[in-house]
């Protein structure tokens, strides 16, 4: 234990929250002790490999596994026929996946069979001996093809032959807004898809005990949803399934779906009577995917002369790949948050997700919002230029009001965006640089907002989204239990810090037990930036209950009122007379003697504040986070290469529970945004993945990542634990348009398509040289038969109704 602080005079000062403390799990990570899923080695463990389709689209006519079965060392070979005929999927509305495909394969990489063997090589060799007879079907590889194809279908459900989802919503009368505008601008943008590229490949280990109980260890961000899926697909009671999420070696959304390898190892463990492990190769991680959706976008905005937005109409088409995944939510997210950054009094959104014969897309950091954010921030940059306004100042004037509602009925609580803008403008020297740097150098500005946890669970239910149990033993030891999983974002540390702050001890005094469905209360998972706020509130509630017992028991002993006591510095003492008190452990013993075993639970469910229309479920959150960013770049006119020189980023994530961790989230988001802005793309040639390896799939190294200047702007949000909001996703969003806008400032070329590769920059420069429009990007938006919009009155400008608290 470290030194014990002397009790301070002012007890309301925070002792742990706001301090730059090491993560509680850092020590295991720096000595190589942390056990990730692939590090688990169980006695008699067998190894599994999946056989994956080499066709993008084909009917399975027959599968012959006899040669594979005959290979020495092979313990079991399974196909889809070895599972109950049950489909699954992360969203209840898209139950379209199978553990192993039975009738059709829908993308190169779709799993059709699996082998368990004594070692990985034997398993691999056996998969090559499995003979699958396919009847190839025409592959559908693009948005255009998916919209045009009427007879060949990838899935048998959806809003059209290959249309998964169509959405159309209008808040207020946008036409009226356009009539009041002095300038109306329309733009088209395209955002290519990308993979999360977590450093750890997905892995899972299953063990089946003789009493019929299954345990699965997996590198998953959503153990609770994996738990539900295993029970459903294997037709087991949930009470007989235990899912333990191992520390995740990078997720970024890519480990948020239940995956076929998780179901396969479970089945193989049952059949072989041995533990079975499957670790995906890097190539397979590109197939498992669930990465950024490629999105084609059209946006029309009407503004008055000073840049005030009167109305906005936004359309998106998402290339979803072969399965549903989170796609319905992704589709709504491409439209839902447009209104949360700047004031948009009237808003119309039309969205469409198509199926194609490619690995399924899903949630990647920012889920569905980086694409529209890019489009809108570049679009507004063009509008500012057309009006002769400073693009940062124009946006600053239109930042949403705190504690107000948006056109689409979202409730904003705190908003520190104005200050974020001021701080990056100041720090970067924006005013001296914008439109003033020498040719080849430029700065770009953009801002963004994001949710702090989705307001609704993935499946409809009345239960809490998270729960925490805290227990105190007689030695003063504290354990905190929660289903949350640390994916590197620091959720274990948040849990320990919140409990420590409330109980007046230090994070290092606390043992956290997380992400084990047998031992920990449910937490829905590490997605949608929900954990800090939701788990934090639950942890606070649980710890406060215990603190109440400790203070009561101590008060009796000290013969004072509990109201006069504080817990701090590993002691419980009188606020006005710090010398009078006792150690934390002593208070715990008194409390246990008085009240019995010391354990308490807390739970959290977000407030229900969305609108009352169909589709209102996506977008609401307890609180929105905000970021503003200035990027400075150098563009080489010879090679077209864009080199980011420096990034200034200011982030309002509420109160920073641990500034070190918040900065880490901001820096990591900036990095990931840079990769997407400039180089990362998951693309295909004739149904084949063009780049299923790290060599071909370029991502930024230390050499391509510039210095990142992070500024934390703290608001104190009433919804968050100690005022905290989100940090892990919003800072990615402005990066990409800031780079695009900086490229324009540097060389006068608009690249309206992500990534901004050297070829595109050169093409733009070439057009500029020839006196053509210096723009590279999509030329047309295909015809989509969007339905008549659901018309809802705009709630823009109404005050937030915070009385709708969590139930």
């Amino acid at each position: 234990m470290g030194p014990v602080e002397t009790p301070p005079r002012r007890a309301e000062e925070l002792a742990v929250i706001g301090k730059r403390l090491p993560k509680v799990d850092a020590w295991g990570k720096v000595i190589g002790e942390t056990k990730y899923a692939d590090d688990l080695i169980l006695p008699r463990m067998a190894h599994a490999r999946l056989l994956r389709a080499r066709h993008p689209h084909a009917r399975i006519k027959a599968i012959d596994t006899s040669r594979a079965r005959a290979l020495p060392g092979v313990l079991a070979v399974i196909t889809g026929a070895d599972f109950p005929p049950v489909k699954f999927g992360i969203l209840p509305v898209s139950q379209d996946e199978e553990a192993l495909s039975t009738e059709k394969v829908r993308y190169v990489g779709d799993a059709v069979a699996a082998v368990a063997a004594v070692d990985e090589e034997t398993a691999e060799r056996a998969t090559e001996l499995i003979e699958v007879e396919y009847e190839p079907l025409p592959p559908i590889m693009s948005i255009e093809e998916a919209l045009a194809e009427g007879t060949v279908r990838i899935q048998e459900y959806g809003d059209g032959p290959n249309i998964h989802k169509l959405v159309s919503l209008e808040f207020g009368d946008v036409e009226e807004g356009f009539r009041e505008a002095d300038l109306i601008r329309e733009d088209l943008f395209y955002f290519e898809g990308s993979n999360h590229l977590p450093m750890e490949q997905h892995a899972a280990v299953a063990r089946w005990d003789p009493d019929g109980k299954l345990t699965l260890w997996s590198s998953t961000q959503t153990p609770h949803y994996v738990h539900r899926t295993l029970a459903k697909v294997l037709e087991l009671p949930m009470s007989h399934v235990r899912v333990i999420a191992t520390p995740v070696g990078g997720g970024f959304g890519g480990k948020s779906d239940p995956f076929s390898h998780e179901l396969v190892v479970a089945r193989l463990a049952q059949l072989t009577g041995r533990p079975v492990k499957c670790t995906l190769t890097r190539e397979e991680v590109f197939y498992a995917h669930r990465g950024r959706h490629p999105v084609l976008m059209w946006v029309k905005t009407g503004v008055t002369r000073d840049g005030t937005i009167q109305a906005m109409h936004f359309r998106s088409i998402l290339d979803g790949g072969a399965y549903g995944s989170y796609g319905v939510a992704s589709t709504f997210y491409t439209g839902a948050l447009q209104t949360v950054t700047y004031k948009v009094p009237r808003y119309k959104f039309e969205g469409c997700r198509v199926f194609t014969n490619k690995p399924p897309c899903g949630p990647k950091r920012g889920h569905g919002t980086p694409q529209p954010r890019y489009a809108i921030e570049v679009h507004l940059d063009k509008i500012a230029e057309a009006l002769g306004l400073d693009p940062a100042e124009m946006r600053r004037r239109q930042v949403v009001e705190p504690f107000s509602k948006t056109a689409n009925h979202l409730t904003i609580t705190t908003c520190g965006l104005e200050e974020c803008i001021d701080r990056v403008v100041e720090a970067s020297g924006w005013r001296e640089k914008h439109r003033r740097l020498p040719p080849g150098r430029g700065v770009g500005f953009a801002a963004s907002s994001y949710i702090t946890g989705a307001g609704l669970a993935i499946y409809w239910n009345e239960m809490p989204h998270t729960g925490v149990i805290v227990k105190i033993d007689r030695g003063g030891g504290v354990a905190a239990f929660c289903g949350s999983i640390d994916i590197g974002q620091g959720s274990d540390s948040v849990l320990a810090s919140v409990v420590a702050e409330v109980l007046g001890i230090l994070p290092e005094d606390i043992r956290v037990v997380t992400a084990d469905t047998d031992l920990t209360p449910v937490d829905l998972g590490s997605y949608s930036s929900r954990v800090t706020l939701m788990m934090g509130n639950a942890a606070k509630e649980a710890a406060e209950k215990l603190r109440g017992l400790l203070l009561d028991a101590a008060a009796k002993k000290l013969e004072v009122s509990p109201a006069g006591l504080v817990a701090r510095g590993r002691r419980v003492y009188l606020r006005d007379d710090p010398e009078r008190g006792m150690s934390f452990a002593e208070a715990a013993q008194l409390a246990e003697a008085a009240y019995g075993t010391l354990a308490a639970a807390g739970s959290y469910r977000p407030p229900r504040r969305g609108g009352k229309f169909k589709g209102a479920g996506v977008g609401p959150t307890p609180a929105y986070s905000y970021t503003a960013c200035v990027a400075e770049v150098a563009v080489d006119p010879e090679t077209g290469e864009v080199r980011p020189l420096e990034i200034w980023i200011a982030h309002d994530g509420g109160r920073a529970l641990n500034p070190l961790l918040v900065e880490g989230q901001v820096e990591g988001s900036v990095y990931m945004g840079l990769g997407e802005a400039l180089m990362e793309e998951q693309i295909f040639r004739k149904g084949l993945h063009k780049i299923p390896s790290m060599l071909e799939y370029k991502s930024p190294t230390t050499l391509e990542t510039p210095e990142i200047r992070t500024i934390l702007v703290e608001t104190n949000d009433p919804e968050g634990p100690f005022g905290a909001k989100e940090a892990g996703q919003v800072p990615l969003l402005p990066l990409i348009p800031a780079i695009a806008n900086a490229v324009y400032d540097a060389v006068g070329v608009r690249v309206d398509e992500i990534p901004i590769t050297p070829e595109k920059v050169l093409k733009g420069l070439d057009q500029k040289g020839k006196g053509q429009e210096p723009r590279v990007g999509p030329e047309r938006f295909p015809r989509v038969s969007f339905p008549e919009p659901i018309r809802v009155e705009s709630a823009f400008g109404q005050p937030a109704d915070l009385s709708l608290k969590r139930e």
Partner: protein, 156 residues
């Protein structure tokens, strides 16, 4: 076919009978149980599997153990001495340079080799030394800070 391998691993003389075609990465993880060494591609593209061979960073996924006979291999498990963390381990933990921590072992070893050649490297020199090690979490900022802090502390 198996062969007898006799490298020194983390200061210990090791004898291990392993299939000839297994890489050093596999032998370390699967035969010796040293799972601190990670992998992200097994094709030499990510740097996650970095270990030190006679003090120099090598990609263990590309190396056959026969090439290591009688040589000194250091993995992350061997960095702390008698329970005392290496200054890099200390600074990585203190500054939040390990988020998911998956790239951390490889980066720690690459940084250790750097500091041995160049005890007070410039930020640029650190960038160059770590250019072969991908990290998807940190944006490298805190990693560079942590290497600088460890260098400063060692120099004292």
């Amino acid at each position: 076919m198996r062969e007898l391998l006799t490298p020194r691993v983390n200061g210990d003389d090791v004898q291990v009978l392993a299939p000839v075609h297994k890489t050093l990465l596999e032998v370390l993880r699967e035969e010796l149980g040293l799972t601190g060494t990670k992998h992200g591609c097994e094709l030499g593209e990510c740097g996650t599997c970095t270990v030190l061979l006679d003090g120099e960073p090598v990609l263990s996924c590309l190396l056959l153990p026969v090439e290591c006979q009688g040589r000194e291999i250091l993995t992350v498990e061997g960095m702390a001495q008698a329970g005392r963390l290496h200054p890099l381990q200390q600074s990585f933990a203190e500054l939040g340079a390990a988020q998911c921590g998956y790239c951390t072992p490889g980066i720690l070893l690459a940084a250790k080799a750097l500091l041995e050649h160049n005890p007070r490297p410039s930020r640029e020199a650190i960038r160059v030394a770590l250019a072969g090690n991908l990290c998807r979490c940190t944006g490298y900022t805190k990693i560079l800070d942590a290497v600088e802090l460890a260098a400063a502390r060692q120099g004292r």
